[in-house]
C-alpha cells in the first residue's frame, strides 16, 4: 500500500490543505497517479524512497499519507538519518531548509526540497545558492570573517588536536579572501561565491546526498 502513496498529485496536496473528506482521498488514490513537478529527484524510485524515509521518522500514529503531508518532523529526528549523521553541516542544513517560523522542524515538502537540492538532477546554480546559505552561519546574506571561522572549525572536526591555531586561522582566512573577494569589501557575497564554485570541478560531485 505504501507504493501508491509515493506519487503525489497537486490536487491531493491542495485538498489536504483544506481538510477534505477522507473518502475523496480514497477516490483520488484509486485513480491514476502521476508525477508532480517540484521533485528534482530524477525518477520515481527516488521519490518513493524519499517518502518512505520520511514516514519512518514520524511517530507510529501518524504514518499515513494525510498526516505525513501535514506533520513536521523535528530537527533532532532528521539528524538521526544516516546520510546526515556524519555531516558537519547537518544543523545548518536543517535550519536552511526548514520553513517553520522557529526553523526547527521540516515538513515533507522541506524534506523533498532538501534531497532534491542534493540530488544529481539539481543544477549547479541551485546547489551553489543553497551551499551559500548553509555556510552563512549568521544568516546575514554574506560570508564575513566570523562565518569563515565557523566554517573552518566545522571542517576540522571537534577534536582539540585537529583545530587550527589562531595565527593559522587568520592566515587561512586572509588567503581565502584574497582569492575570492573580488570587490575587496572583506566579505564574500553570493555572486562571488557562485563565481568561485563555478570554477570548481569537484563541487557538483561532492555536494551530493543519495537516499
Amino acid at each position: 500500500a505504501e507504493e501508491d502513496f509515493s506519487w503525489f498529485d497537486l490536487t491531493e496536496i491542495e485538498l489536504l490543505r483544506v481538510k477534505c473528506l477522507p473518502h475523496t482521498l480514497d477516490v483520488l488514490r484509486a485513480s491514476s497517479l502521476y508525477t508532480p513537478f517540484h521533485i528534482q529527484l530524477s525518477h520515481k524510485t527516488q521519490r518513493a524512497r524519499a517518502h518512505r524515509r520520511f514516514i519512518e521518522l514520524l511517530p507510529p500514529e501518524s504514518r499515513n499519507v494525510e498526516d505525513s503531508l501535514r506533520v513536521r518532523v523535528s530537527t533532532e529526528q532528521i539528524l538521526t538519518l544516516p546520510e546526515l549523521k556524519a555531516n558537519p553541516f547537518r544543523e545548518r542544513i536543517c535550519r536552511v531548509f526548514s520553513t517553520a517560523p522557529e526553523r526547527d522542524s521540516l515538513s515533507f515538502e522541506d524534506f523533498l526540497d532538501l534531497f532534491s537540492v542534493f540530488s544529481d538532477a539539481a543544477t549547479p546554480e541551485i546547489k551553489s545558492h543553497y551551499a551559500f546559505r548553509i555556510f552563512d552561519f549568521d544568516d546575514d546574506g554574506t560570508l564575513n570573517k566570523e562565518d569563515l571561522k565557523c566554517l573552518v572549525n566545522c571542517l576540522t572536526g571537534d577534536g582539540q588536536d585537529t583545530q587550527l591555531t589562531s595565527s593559522e586561522m587568520k592566515q587561512l582566512i586572509e588567503n581565502i579572501l584574497e582569492e575570492s573577494d573580488i570587490d575587496r569589501d572583506g566579505t564574500i557575497n553570493l555572486s562571488e561565491f557562485q563565481h568561485v564554485i563555478s570554477r570548481s570541478p569537484d563541487f557538483t560531485s561532492s555536494f551530493k546526498i543519495v537516499l
Binding site: S42, L155, S180, I182, F193, I197, R199
Partner: protein, 798 residues
C-alpha cells in the same frame, strides 16, 4: 488560483452530484495538467538529469534572470487578464468560441508561452516548495484555460490534436528516460562504497563501469558483424585447411594444457584471425566478410576514440578556466572539500584529519614557497634518482626482450615445462608488481611535495608499462618477420604436395579422386594468429595475476590481521601490516593498460573483446566485495574528479599508442597466404580498393581516387593546424578580457568606497557646522550619515 476555484464552484452543483462527478472531472483536469507541465518540465528534465551534466552556466543563469523578470510581467499581465476575464465573457475556455480577435489571440499565445517557460524553468529556482507550488498552480491554470482556445476555426481541432500528440511524445520520452536511468547497473553498490570510502575510491568503480559499457559496445560490434556471420554463413569447421587442426597436432588438440595455451581446437576457431575465409562474399546475403572485418577493426578504434574524447570534453566543460590564472586553492579547500556522500563516522573522522592536514600544509606551503635549502644537494639527489630509475626501466626492457627470444626457442623444442611455456607472461607480471614499489623507494631520495611526487610516480609506472609492452611487441615483430620470410618456402612445399597428390599413380583416371583431407595439407605459419594468441595469453595471465594479488594481498592479509591479532606481540591493526588501503592509481593504471592490450590485440583475435567483457564483469563484483571486506578508508582522502581528466588523457594516449602497431602491420606487412580474410592479397587494405571497384558504381572510385590525392590531403592538414592556432589565440584573448573585467570591478568598488568616504566626511563637516546651530538638524545629519555606512571597512567611525 482564484479563476480556477471560481470555475470549480460554477460547475459544482449539489453535494450529491459532486461525489459522482468529481473523479471523472478531476481526471480530465489532471490529464491536461500532466500533459501540460509534462511537456515543458520534462524537456528540461531530460537535459538536466541525463547524467551527462552538459550545463551551460551562463545561459541558464541568464534564463533564470529572464524568467524572473518575465514572471513579474506575467503577474502583472495576469491581473490585467483577470480584469479582462470578468469584463469580457466572450473569452471562455470552451473551444467553440470563434470570435477571438487576432490581436487578443497573439497576446494570449505570448502569455501562454511565457507561462510555459515559467513552468519549465521553475525547477531552477532556489525558492522554497510552497512558493514554487503557488507559482506553478497559477501558471498551469492559466495555460490550461487558454490553450484550448488558441486554435481557431477548422484548424482548431488539428491544432489540439497536434498538441496532444506532442504531449504524448514528451511523456513517452520521459518514461523512456526513467527506464534508462533504472537500467544503469550497480548503482546501489557504488553508493555503498561511496559512503564508506569517499568519492575517490568510488570514482575507480565508476570508471570500471564506464569501461565495461565501452567494451560491451565493442563486443557487440565485433560479435555481430564478424563472428556471427562467419559462423552462420561461412564454411564450417573442417572443410578447408585453415579451419582444421593439422594432422600432426590432432591427438593432443583436446588436452587441457594445450587449450589453456590457446592452441589446439581453440586456435582453429572463430576466436582468432586465422579461421576466417577470404571468400569475397559469403552466404545468400552476399555478406562481404573481409571488408566487414577490416571496417570493424577500424571502427573499434574510431568508436573508442570518439567515446574517450566525448568524455574528456564533458569533463573539461566542468572545469572552466582551469588555466587562466585563477588560483582558488584555499577557497576550493574551504567550500568544496567536504564530501557530502560520507555517511560513516570513521570515514568522516579521517576526512576531518585530512582536511586539517591539507589546510596546514597549504599554509606552510604558502609561507615556505621562497625558501629552498641546499639546492645543490637536492638537485644531485634528484638526478641520481632519475638515473637509477632509467637504469631500472632499461633493465626491465632488456629482460623482456631476452625472455621473448628464449620463448621462441622453446617453442621449437618438444617437452617444454609449464614454466618455460609461460615464462614471458610471468616475467611481465612480476615486473609490473615489483617495479612500482621499487620506484617509490628510490623516489624517497627526491624529496618532492607529495602531490608532485605522485605525478612522477604515475609517470614512471606509465613509462614502465609502455616500455614493457613495446619491447614485447618488438620481439614479436622479429618473430613475425621470420615467419614471413619462411612463407615462400612453405608455399612451394604446399604446391608440390598437392601436385604430387593429384598426379600420384595410385589413382585411376575414371574414379574422381577425393580432394586431399584438409588436415593433411601443409600449413603456413600464420603470423597473425600467433600475434593474437600472444595477446590473449597476456591478457589472461594479467587477469589471473590481478585476482590473485587481490586475494592474497588484501583478503588474506586482512584475515591474518584480524585473526592473529589476539595472539601476536604487537598490535597488527595499528602497526605493520594492518589493513590495506585501496590502491586507486595502481588499479586505474592497470585497467588502462589492460584496455590498451585489448585494443592492440582485437584486430588479430576477435574473441579477445569477449574475454575482456567477462573479465570486467567479474572484476566489478570481485573488487566490490574485496574493497568492502578487506580495505580501510584512506588516511589522506584524495579528491578523484580533478584527476579524472588525467586518467582520460592517459587512456587517450594509450589508445594512440596501441593504434600504432596495428596500423603499421596493416600498412606494411603482407598478410599470410593461407589464413585469414585477407589471404592472397598483397596488403590488407587492398580489400577496400577491391570493394570500391567491384561493388560501387564507377564514379565512386573516381571520387575516392581524387580524395586520396596527397595534393588534397596536405592542404587539409595545414588548414586544421591553422584552425587550432586561431582557436588558441581566441582563448588567450578571452582570458585577457577576463582579467581586465576583474580589474574593472575592483576599480568600481574602490570608486564607491571613495564616494562613501567623501559623503561621510561631508556629512561630518555639515554635522560640525550645524552643531553650532541646532540640535534637531544634527540628529537628522547623523541619520543621513549612518545610512551611507553599511560597509564594515569604512575608514570613518562615528
Amino acid at each position: 488560483r482564484r479563476s480556477h476555484e471560481s470555475k470549480r464552484e460554477e460547475k459544482e452543483g449539489g453535494n450529491t452530484e459532486i461525489k459522482a462527478r468529481i473523479p471523472q472531472r478531476k481526471k480530465d483536469i489532471r490529464r491536461k495538467r500532466r500533459e501540460v507541465f509534462g511537456e515543458d518540465e520534462w524537456s528540461k528534465a531530460e537535459k538536466s538529469c541525463n547524467g551527462k551534466r552538459k550545463r551551460d552556466w551562463k545561459t541558464s543563469h541568464k534564463e533564470q534572470k529572464e524568467a524572473k523578470n518575465r514572471e513579474k510581467q506575467i503577474q502583472r499581465k495576469k491581473e490585467k487578464q483577470l480584469k479582462k476575464h470578468s469584463s469580457s465573457p466572450s473569452i471562455s475556455n470552451s473551444s467553440d468560441n470563434e470570435f477571438i480577435a487576432e490581436e487578443e489571440m497573439a497576446h494570449i499565445m505570448e502569455q501562454v508561452e511565457e507561462k510555459k517557460k515559467v513552468i519549465a524553468t521553475i525547477r531552477n529556482k532556489p525558492w522554497p516548495m510552497m512558493k514554487k507550488l503557488e507559482v506553478l498552480r497559477e501558471a498551469q491554470a492559466f495555460v490550461e484555460k487558454f490553450e484550448g482556445a488558441l486554435g481557431k476555426g477548422k484548424g482548431k481541432k488539428f491544432y489540439a490534436y497536434k498538441m496532444m500528440m506532442n504531449k504524448k511524445w514528451i511523456k513517452f520520452k520521459r518514461d523512456f528516460d526513467n527506464f534508462k536511468t533504472q537500467c544503469i547497473p550497480w548503482e546501489m553498490k557504488i553508493k555503498e562504497i561511496e559512503s564508506h570510502f569517499g568519492s575517490s575510491v568510488a570514482s575507480y568503480f565508476i570508471f570500471l563501469r564506464w569501461m565495461y559499457g565501452v567494451n560491451l559496445v565493442l563486443f557487440g560490434l565485433i560479435f555481430g558483424l564478424v563472428i556471427i556471420p562467419e559462423i552462420l554463413m561461412g564454411m564450417p569447421y573442417g572443410s578447408i585447411p585453415r579451419k582444421t587442426v593439422p594432422r600432426a597436432e590432432e591427438e593432443k588438440a583436446m588436452d587441457f594444457s594445450v587449450l589453456w595455451d590457446f592452441e589446439g581446437y581453440i586456435k582453429y576457431s572463430a576466436l582468432f584471425y586465422g579461421y576466417y575465409n577470404n571468400q569475397r562474399t559469403i552466404g545468400w546475403l552476399k555478406y562481404r566478410l573481409p571488408m566487414a572485418y577490416f571496417m570493424v577493426g577500424v571502427s573499434v578504434f574510431g568508436y573508442s576514440l570518439m567515446v574517450v574524447i566525448r568524455s574528456m570534453a564533458s569533463n573539461a566543460q566542468e572545469n572552466t578556466g582551469e588555466g587562466n590564472g585563477d588560483n582558488f586553492t584555499f577557497s576550493f579547500k574551504m567550500f568544496t572539500s567536504w564530501d557530502y556522500l560520507i555517511g560513516n563516522t570513521e570515514t568522516a573522522d579521517n576526512k576531518y584529519a585530512s582536511i586539517t592536514t591539507s589546510f596546514k600544509e597549504s599554509i606552510v606551503d604558502e609561507q615556505e614557497s621562497n625558501k629552498e635549502e641546499n639546492i645543490h644537494l637536492t638537485r644531485f639527489l634528484r638526478v641520481l634518482a632519475n638515473f637509477l630509475i632509467i637504469c631500472c626501466l632499461c633493465g626491465s626492457g632488456y629482460l623482456i626482450y631476452f625472455v621473448v627470444k628464449r620463448s621462441q626457442e622453446f617453442s621449437k623444442m618438444q617437452n617444454v615445462s609449464w614454466y618455460e611455456r609461460n615464462e614471458v607472461e610471468i616475467v611481465m607480471s612480476l615486473l609490473g608488481m615489483f617495479c612500482p614499489p621499487l620506484f617509490e623507494t628510490i623516489a624517497a631520495l627526491e624529496n618532492y611535495h607529495p602531490r608532485i611526487g605522485l605525478k612522477w610516480q604515475l609517470g614512471r609506472i606509465f613509462a614502465l608499462f609502455l616500455g614493457n609492452l613495446y619491447t614485447f611487441l618488438l620481439a614479436l615483430m622479429d618473430d613475425v618477420h621470420l615467419k614471413l620470410s619462411n612463407e615462400e618456402a612453405i608455399k612451394n612445399i604446399t604446391h608440390w604436395t598437392l601436385f604430387n597428390y593429384y598426379n600420384a599413380s595410385m589413382w585411376n583416371e575414371s574414379v574422381t579422386r577425393p580432394p586431399l583431407h584438409p588436415a593433411d595439407v601443409p600449413r603456413g605459419s600464420c603470423w597473425e594468429t600467433t600475434v593474437g594468441i600472444e595477446f590473449v595469453r597476456l591478457t589472461v595471465s594479467d587477469i589471473l595475476v590481478t585476482f590473485i594479488t587481490i586475494l592474497l594481498g588484501d583478503f588474506l592479509r586482512a584475515c591474518f590481521v584480524r585473526f592473529m591479532n589476539y595472539c601476536w606481540c604487537w598490535d597488527l591493526e595499528a602497526g605493520f601490516p594492518s589493513y590495506s588501503e585501496f590502491d586507486i592509481s595502481g588499479n586505474v593504471l592497470g585497467l588502462i593498460f589492460n584496455q590498451g592490450m585489448i585494443w592492440m590485440g582485437s584486430f588479430y583475435a576477435p574473441g579477445l573483446v569477449g574475454i575482456n567483457v567477462l573479465r570486467l564483469l567479474t572484476s566489478m563484483y570481485f573488487q566490490c566485495w574485496a574493497v568492502m571486506s578487506s580495505n580501510v578508508p584512506h588516511e589522506r582522502v584524495f579528491k578523484a574528479s580533478k584527476s579524472n581528466n588525467f586518467y582520460m588523457g592517459l587512456l587517450l594516449l594509450v589508445l594512440f599508442l596501441s593504434l600504432l602497431p596495428v596500423a603499421y602491420t596493416i600498412m606494411s606487412l603482407p598478410p599470410s597466404f593461407d589464413c585469414g580474410p585477407f589471404s592472397g592479397k598483397n596488403r590488407m587494405y587492398d580489400v577496400i580498393q577491391e570493394t570500391i571497384e567491384n561493388d560501387f558504381p564507377a564514379f565512386v572510385s573516381k571520387i575516392f581516387g581524387y580524395i586520396a590525392n596527397p595534393g588534397l590531403i596536405i592542404p587539409a592538414i595545414l588548414l586544421m593546424a591553422l584552425a587550432i592556432y586561431y582557436l588558441n589565440s581566441v582563448s588567450k584573448g578571452l582570458a585577457r578580457a577576463n582579467t581586465q573585467l576583474r580589474k574593472k570591478i575592483q576599480a568600481l568598488r574602490e570608486a564607491e568606497k571613495i564616494n562613501k568616504s567623501n559623503k561621510a566626511s561631508a556629512a561630518m563637516k555639515s554635522l560640525q557646522d550645524t552643531n553650532n546651530f541646532k540640535n534637531t538638524n544634527q540628529l537628522q545629519a547623523t541619520e543621513e550619515g549612518k545610512l551611507c555606512w553599511n560597509s564594515p571597512l569604512t575608514p570613518l567611525q562615528f
